[in-house]
């Protein structure tokens, strides 16, 4: 079954239609390369510009200028000549750049001389007691519902955590006339002092005024409780209330029908890891990031990574990194791109990165929210608790892969996306070694579950033979 005609081979395949992917595919196609953009969502934009061409939220000020910037990007992409395959889940990528992709329930294989991975970011796990209850979701999820469906939480809504997205969502909710009961701010007090030396560069980044305006607007209208050091979602079949504590204070409780959590984002590394791209632990962003040269080339010949998947830097930086990776790919294949374009991309990228150290330091999530304890669920799929993990470390379990064998943790459908960072950190803490030494889950294709029937319908390749089945 082949729902969409995907060719057997392209010059360049770009995975992910967010800012990096759109920009990269546009540059490649314009340079004359046969280019395909594979994306899981039904329409282009990625998460940051989600539903940009079709959002039912027509009043532009609701989502704000930073959102609508995406429209021009999609526009340029559409006139570039690149092929767009929407609803396409890429489930495997080999070192030889063979790509396994599933569209509308039909698996296909394609290949490219160059691959640019623009798989973006995921929200960092926020393992608190009760985070699996219906009614608890990520702030990003709420934002997607707003952008793509014009839906906002009704009833008592509490936001909790830290990071730019939390404030942006609060601001968009207020613009939309939605109600927010309270924001429980978990930004660690010491972060504010630590971030001070980075203020001057942040002031030059262009994000400063925008950010300040937004936070102020939210604080004027919503009760913000800062210095929160512990959080619990309480409920039986769904969240009913949220309990929180500030430093040594007694625990307070607020009723909540919806609890929206957020503590930053981390690179979505699964596909790159499964292709064998070398990654290192980034201590300033507390996540795994691919090892790349200044053009985005990875340790695997012909595979580059751009956008937030290359390290968190935001939508604008993603765009410029996408262009740089595309320029490098075009040149490697013997196509020319004017040198001024490259110079401009480097200049703009540098400008976008100026504010990063400030944001990374200020919004570094507190240890207590990254390394849970007791009965708090860490692996949502297999319902493995923090205590089970720390106990297993105490028994001598050295890393995530062994942990998987002992506890099935990371073995579920999400393939570690919601627990991987937590597990690495818990093991590192328990063993008293840096996360780099602990490592991450070994990931193999398919990196997204597909059915046996889909695989069986494929021409037999090594990837297909090795592949496993979804439960």
């Amino acid at each position: 079954m082949s729902a969409v005609a995907i060719r057997d081979a392209y010059d360049v395949a770009v995975v992910g239609a967010g800012p990096a992917g759109l920009a990269a595919a546009t540059v490649c196609a314009k340079a004359g390369l046969s280019t395909v953009l594979l994306d899981e969502q039904a329409s282009a934009g990625g998460q940051i510009y989600r539903a940009i061409t079709e959002t039912p939220v027509r009043e532009k000020p609701v989502l704000g200028e930073s959102y609508w910037r995406g429209a021009a990007l999609v526009e340029a992409f559409r006139s570039s000549g690149a092929e767009h395959v929407a609803g396409a889940t890429v489930w495997s990528l080999t070192r030889e750049r063979e790509i396994g992709v599933s569209v509308g329930g039909g698996a296909q294989l394609t290949g490219a001389r160059r691959v640019i991975l623009c798989t973006g970011a995921l929200e960092r796990p926020f393992p608190i007691p009760g985070w699996t209850l219906p009614g608890v979701m990520t702030a990003g999820a709420a934002q997607i519902l707003l952008k793509s469906a014009g839906l906002v939480a009704s009833g008592r809504t509490v936001l909790a955590g830290c990071g730019p997205l939390l404030w942006l969502l609060a601001w968009q909710y207020l613009n939309a006339g939605a109600n927010i009961d309270a924001i429980l701010d978990t930004t660690a007090e010491e972060n504010r002092t630590r971030a001070l030396p980075h203020v001057p560069r942040f002031l030059l980044s262009g994000y400063f005024l925008e950010g300040l305006k937004l936070v102020r607007a939210v604080k004027r209208e919503v009760r913000v409780i800062s210095g929160v050091t512990a959080l619990r979602a309480i409920g039986d079949t769904g969240v009913r209330s949220v309990a929180f504590r500030r430093h040594g204070d007694v625990e307070e409780t607020r009723l909540a029908d919806t609890l929206l959590l957020h503590q930053g984002v981390a690179p979505n590394v699964n596909l790159a890891l499964s292709a064998g791209v070398e990654h290192r632990w980034d201590e300033s962003q507390l996540c795994w990031a691919p090892v790349l040269d200044d053009e985005g080339n990875s340790s695997v010949e012909g595979i580059a990574v751009a956008g937030d998947g290359a390290g968190i830097a935001g939508a604008q930086a993603a765009e410029w990194r996408g262009r740089l990776a595309a320029i490098a790919a075009a040149r490697a294949l013997g196509f020319s791109v004017p040198a001024v374009e490259e110079a401009r991309a480097r200049r703009e990228l540098k400008r976008c990165l100026r504010g990063r150290a400030f944001l990374d330091t200020l919004y570094r999530p507190a240890k207590s929210f990254r390394q849970p304890s007791g009965d708090t669920i860490v692996c949502r799929c297999e319902e493995v608790t923090a205590r089970q993990i720390t106990d297993t470390v105490a028994l001598g379990c050295p890393g995530p892969n062994q942990m998987k064998a002992f506890l099935r943790c990371g073995m579920g459908l999400c393939q570690g996306r919601l627990c991987g960072l937590t597990v690495t950190e818990l093991i590192a803490e328990g063993r008293g070694v840096p996360p780099q030494q602990v490592g991450y889950y070994r990931l193999r294709p398919p990196v997204k579950p597909i059915t046996v029937a889909e695989l069986a319908a494929l021409p037999k390749t090594e990837a297909a033979v090795k592949a496993v089945v979804r439960i």
């Binding site: 039904a42 039912p56 219906p134 999820a141 793509s148 839906l151 009833g155 079949t237 439960i471």
Partner: protein, 99 residues
């Protein structure tokens, strides 16, 4: 609980069923969004403890939105768009045999 912002009047709808209940969904919505809009508070129960779950990430990574769509189990509701006549059922535990 989620509610719809006042939308453009031209927005069209499609008829779907959720666990046998007929619901008008906004054309273009994902299954997960349509369920939340219809006041459905959970999509599935977990295979391990039977605990209820609902969409958590809305971007295809958490798999908490798994539902049975037109008889096919373990579909990610947040990645599939509603279609006229679509039958959506809550999923109990692991994907049932034959689905």
């Amino acid at each position: 609980m989620f509610q719809r912002l006042p939308l453009e009047p031209s927005g069209s709808t499609v008829g779907i069923s959720i666990d046998g209940r007929r619901v008008e969904a906004r054309a273009g919505d994902t299954v997960a969004a349509a369920m939340l809009a219809a006041g459905v508070v959970r999509c599935r129960t977990t295979p391990v403890s039977g605990a209820p779950r609902a969409p958590y990430c809305m971007m295809g990574v958490c798999f908490d939105c798994l539902v049975t769509i037109d008889g096919v189990g373990s579909r990610q509701g947040c990645l599939v768009r509603v279609r006229e006549g679509m039958r959506i059922e809550m999923q109990q535990g692991a994907r049932e045999l034959g689905k």
